[in-house]
Symmetry: C2
Subunit: 193 residues, 2 copies
DNA sequence: GACCGTTGCCAACACATGTTGGCAAACACT
DNA sequence: AGTGTTTGCCAACATGTGTTGGCAACGGTC
């Protein structure tokens, strides 16, 4: 702290900080947590590796900052109940088609316990909260949210990580048509016996 | 080659080889490709790290041997068409609930290109071939197989890798009830416009 | 213009990694 | 018994990693 009394004053190094964060997201998304080295990230950002340490403390700290992520789920109460699935798939596809943060998180979650923990938080908190806006049984709500997460993450995993050819080649709209009914049933379908 | 003229004669070191492979599968499944070190695997197998190199050439070679995997898909032509989804989910859950090889492959596929390639091979070849037993349009067949893979891998990813609480707590039979209709539609449903 | 915090770079440390070569004991075979 | 092969271990190398400390240049403040 210098002389700033409240929140954060714009610092002269903000540009550097942002460059590091951008490069970190790219590298984490492309290589995963362990293969993405601080040296490579620093090289991409065209600064010295020691700056990364000064501004983010450690590699874990850098990842924590780079993997900050908000699903930005729309208000599901203002959506026609019959179109919930469609709205959700479309939203997710659009959300991470233009933001590699989730891909970074997805890759890292496989090997980094902290990343997995964050993933759990995001989908357990944000998604469960959204699903909870309709339906009262908490166990059932959690199960619905989990199933939705399984299909959504499976979609992302096969399309962006493993890159299964049929999943890569299919257009987003076609994917929406196929997957929307699945989410719809997970969200509003009557539970099996 | 020593004096063996055909295939493979039982060697005295077979026990060691097997111990290495078992430890490797465990470590790769638990830690992923990069965090699983040859030293740790050798320690688990109670032998010297250099033996791993001698018997498997390199870390990549060891992984290739440890990640040998067969989905063992049943013959889908002898299954009532209406129960295809149910049979498939049950088979997959049973298949990898007792064999950590697929978990190892799944974890590694996120960061290791070779593992991702193998994953593509398994699901593009074995699964697509099974789906192709009914239906003629190759593009549609590939798409169906891809969608099935997305839900199946999403299930495995959320249950075994990220360990989302609702997906971990749910019993296999309950998962089957929820997911079977999804696969059923991906396999036999009429394609959207 | 002197002072002090900030920004940046360089060099280095401590450590873990995959990998290699050499050597001793155990074994197989004549 | 003698010889060649196999199995195993030890020590070491080369390299890449996250991380640290020190030092020069810059920027604003009195």
């Amino acid at each position: 702290m210098t002389s700033s009394t409240r929140s954060t004053q714009p610092r002269r190094s903000d540009a550097t900080r942002a460059a590091i964060l951008r490069a970190a997201r790219e590298r984490f998304a492309a290589d995963g947590y362990e293969r993405a080295t601080i040296r490579a990230i620093a090289a991409d950002a065209q600064i010295d590796p020691s700056m990364v340490m000064r501004y983010y403390g450690s590699k874990e700290g850098l990842f924590a900052a780079a993997a900050e992520f908000d699903l930005r789920l729309p208000d599901l109460t203002s959506v026609p109940p019959a179109r919930l699935g469609e709205v959700l798939v479309r939203h997710f596809l659009a959300r991470w088609e233009g933001d590699e943060t989730l891909v970074a998180l997805l890759r890292a979650a496989s090997t980094n316990p902290g990343a997995a923990e964050r993933m759990r938080g995001i989908f357990a908190d944000q998604l469960t909260a959204a699903v909870a806006t309709f339906g009262t049984d908490p166990t059932l709500t959690a199960r619905r949210a989990g199933l939705v997460a399984s299909q959504i993450l499976g979609l992302a995993f096969t399309r962006y990580i493993v890159r299964l050819p049929p999943m890569v080649d299919t257009t987003p709209e076609e994917l929406v048509s196929w997957v929307a009914p699945t989410l719809q049933r997970y969200l509003t379908g009557t539970p099996p016996s």
